[in-house]
Amino acid sequence: MTVNDRIDKATGDLLKRAVVTRFEIEELVVVPIFAVLIALLLGGLTMVATGVDLPTIGLSYASLLQGSVGSLNAISETLTSAAPLTLAGLGIALGFRAGLFNIGAEGQLLIGGMAAAVVGFSLQGVPLVIHLPLALVAGMAAGALWASIAGWLRAATGAHEVISTIMLNLISFRLVDYLLRNPPIQRPGRSDPISKSILESSELPALLQWLDPNLRIHAGIILTLIVVFVVYWLLFRTTIGFEFRSAGANPDAARYGGMRSGLIIVSVMAVAGALAGLAGANQVLGVLGRASPGFSAGIGFDAIAVALLGRGHPVGVLFAGLLFGALEAGGRNMQVGAGVSIDLITIIQALIVVFIAAPMLVRTLFPFAFAKRGNQREGS
């Protein structure tokens, strides 16, 4: 072998990717499964403690399953709930990657949804291929602008984004209320805060209504899948994402590498706000058909849990969004079918997050499910 061959071989060896270890598979798959199981178990105990009898508990879980994946309608409901959670979750996950804790998705979602509604009911006689994209873009732009305020405050003055996004949430609630009570947004002839209905040309088309008019699933789920891919591409395949991730992992190193931290902070917030705004537009254009106070329904807050659960990775966020969507859809069915309060679903969601956030706890509780390993990590 010549020297060059040896160097080529050494270089080639360096390019081999490490195999995924059993530990990583456990962390990504086994831990979440057991976290869900134990959360359901503790949820059952909660029901016992509140005086629900055993057959009813069984019935509730059966309806939870039935209502989330048990029928075509259930799956349609699950996906319909999952889409906005995933979209907003992606924005928050992107923020995590860049070291920003965006609590403002709820407000960004409201502002984005409002903008989508305004475009949705204002443009008469425009074909769907133009009207719908315009409405979606309006939602994203409004969400992006709203979130950029917090980004700009952070970059220019150092005001922490957690505080400023919370405050912007409060402002957005009242702002939306105000807009909904006044022309030109308020529906004519109504005194309560509600917007005009969007035109059909701006609706996200329903996908399966030709099968059954009750199936609510709409094109938003396809949009969501596309956005998952786009966010993945943005984060891991572009220079912009590289800057976002560098700034999040080590701001000093990012500065050393010649990246401009202020610009990055504002852009990250803008992209996160655009995604939350898109989630709002998705609700208005795909599900509600109009805007009303509190149409965000806490999605922006649940999305924080979705982003955490998805470990800040776009694909993880998609799965977490589907899980939360399933719990929500199943939870509604549980309330109807077994008469158990939907609040229980909130408890189960919270427990799942707690257990996934504490993988060591899950490992300790279910030692049989995990391979034994030497203690502690690699040392020097």
């Binding site: 160097i7 050494a10 270089t11 080639g12 060896d13 360096l14 390019l15 081999k16 990717r17 490490a18 270890t21 395949r237 572009t238 220079t239 912009i240 590289f242 991730r245 560098s246 992992a249 080590n250 000093d252 190193a253 500065r255 050393y256 590498g257 010649g258 990246m259 401009r260 030497g374 203690n375 502690q376 990590r377 690699e378 040392g379 020097s380």
Partner: protein, 503 residues
């Protein structure tokens, strides 16, 4: 108390950190445990202190085999460890820190802080470890904080004390004091282990030396008869040169021209106070000085990370005083930052991502906003091979590299592109001898290719070995200039201490 480690083997997945290690620690003796970064010194001591469990082998104390189920067991058996990074509560007093976890209590579990102070003072006087028990930790210097760590260990009646790289954080003067302390502990009959990769320290203070390389004991040394060169060869596995081979400089055009530069630090105090100098192509200019005399701010101003308040910086004849860090990179300035962990690398990124940290936007690695990962990976693999960064894969996280290899990664990143000027701040801090030799060789090669090189270091040996011209910085000013190779260590040392700077 005599401790014997017999046949210790420890694996982390496929990595063997320790392999069949035998070691005896005797009372009244300082054992120097020498090895490069990543040789397995810390792992071995973590096994001894109960943090890890060995896969094979046993620990024998005074003839009896023991089994540690955690650090608590090791402490109970009389083994104490002083970690490299101190484990102290910054807002607590010395006495509070010492008794933390084993507090003396009075009636109704009341904390008896008076007793704690008394006990701390007793230990202080017994071993000559002077420290005020009422001082707040964050207000005392690092050297004293280390004393508190030692008192903590003694307070838990340790007979065996392991020091993990204890001198890494100390100033030269504090090192001398520290040696006094461990000698007095030895004379008091304690068994001591001194982990380091600094040869002269172990030669100065140890009674017996064991050398660890790639997880195995490769040799023992007697400090009275061993030399630097022998120990270094044992550590690295091949002969090591301590002096840098270099030809006389051939200075060319002025590359960097700094005029009357004034820079403020974070607290808005003047850190650089009217500094002027120039660096020519093909020469190494070294800036010597005790840490904290404005070197950090000077380097940041030159590399575009901090804006000066007055004065100008010209690079190849162009004024770059207000240019961004990115513009300076692009025009051919390389920067090896002072603290690689803080700003030189991103630990949670892989080696390839770190390799393009300041070049990712370049045409070589991206088209538009699309990063071309296959090109980045291939190029990284070549650079890693070229610069001898020891790793199995370009996909390994930078965190998993040893300190020396992390630094080689930074040097490789900066020198692998086309540069005209290199600014290297503490280029070999915390790096093992093998890597120091290599990094120095690369810096001189860069000079010989016609780059201008500016080196800022607090290690006088490094400055004297590499520089063609030496500038000494004291309180933000350049107080002396020497021709490389002609100045004596005494003269430079005096200038660093501010002698003659009164004028």
């Amino acid at each position: 108390m005599e401790v014997e480690l017999r046949g210790i083997t420890k694996r982390f997945g496929p990595v063997v950190a320790n392999s069949d290690v035998n070691l005896t620690i005797r009372p009244g003796e300082i054992l120097g445990l020498l090895g490069e970064n990543g040789a397995g010194k810390t792992t071995l001591m973590n096994i001894l202190s109960g943090l890890y469990r060995a896969d094979e082998g046993e620990i024998i104390i005074d003839g009896k085999t023991v089994d540690f189920d955690g650090p608590g067991d090791a402490i109970a058996a009389g083994i104490g460890m002083v970690h490299q990074h101190f484990m102290l509560v910054p807002v607590f007093t010395v006495a509070e820190n010492v008794v933390l976890g084993v507090e003396p209590v009075g009636a109704l579990d009341r904390l008896d802080i008076e007793a704690a102070r008394r006990q701390v003072t007793d230990i202080s006087t017994q071993y000559g470890l002077e420290v005020d028990p009422n001082a707040i930790i964050e207000e005392i210097p690092v050297g004293l904080q280390q004393r508190v760590e030692i008192i903590k260990v003694l307070f838990r009646s340790a007979d065996v004390i392991v020091f993990d790289e204890p001198t890494a954080v100390l100033t030269p003067q504090e090192v001398t004091e520290f040696f006094g302390i461990i000698r007095s502990l030895r004379d008091a009959g304690k068994a001591l282990v001194f982990i380091t990769h600094k040869l002269h320290e172990v030669l100065e203070v140890a009674d017996r030396i064991s050398v660890l390389r790639a997880g195995q004991i490769v040799g023992e040394g007697d400090p009275k008869t061993s030399t630097d060169a022998e120990l270094a060869e044992l550590m690295v596995g091949r002969p090591v040169r301590f002096t840098v081979e270099k030809s006389p400089r051939k200075p060319g055009e002025t590359v960097l021209d700094v005029k009357d530069l004034h820079v403020l630090n974070e607290r808005d105090e003047v850190a650089v106070d009217g500094v002027s100098f120039e660096v020519r192509s093909g020469e190494v200019v070294g800036i010597a000085g005790v840490q904290g005399n404005g070197q950090t701010e000077l380097v940041e101003a030159i590399t575009g990370l901090r804006m000066p308040i007055e004065g100008t910086i010209a690079f190849e004849g162009h004024d770059i005083t207000r240019a961004s860090a990115r513009e300076r990179h692009r025009s051919g300035m390389a920067h090896i930052p002072e603290d690689r962990q803080r700003s030189g690398i991103i630990g949670t990124f892989n080696i390839a991502e770190n390799m393009v940290l300041d070049t990712y936007y370049d045409d070589r690695y991206s088209s538009g906003i699309n990063l071309r990962w296959p090109d980045i990976y291939r190029s990284t693999a070549e650079i890693v091979t070229d610069f001898d960064v020891r790793t199995n894969s370009v996909f390994s996280l930078a965190n998993h590299l040893s300190g020396g290899n992390q630094q080689k990664l930074v040097v490789a990143r900066e020198l692998s592109r086309d540069i005209k000027m290199m600014v290297a701040s503490q280029p070999t801090r915390g790096v093992d001898v093998g890597s120091i030799e290599y990094i120095h060789k690369r810096i001189i090669e860069s000079r010989d290719e016609g780059d201008g090189v500016l080196i800022v270091s607090t290690e006088l040996d490094e400055i004297m070995g590499l520089s063609d011209r030496i500038l000494v910085m004291f309180r933000g000013r350049i107080v002396a200039e020497f021709e490389g190779g002609k100045a004596g260590i005494q003269e430079i040392g005096l200038a660093m201490a501010g002698a003659g700077a009164a004028a």
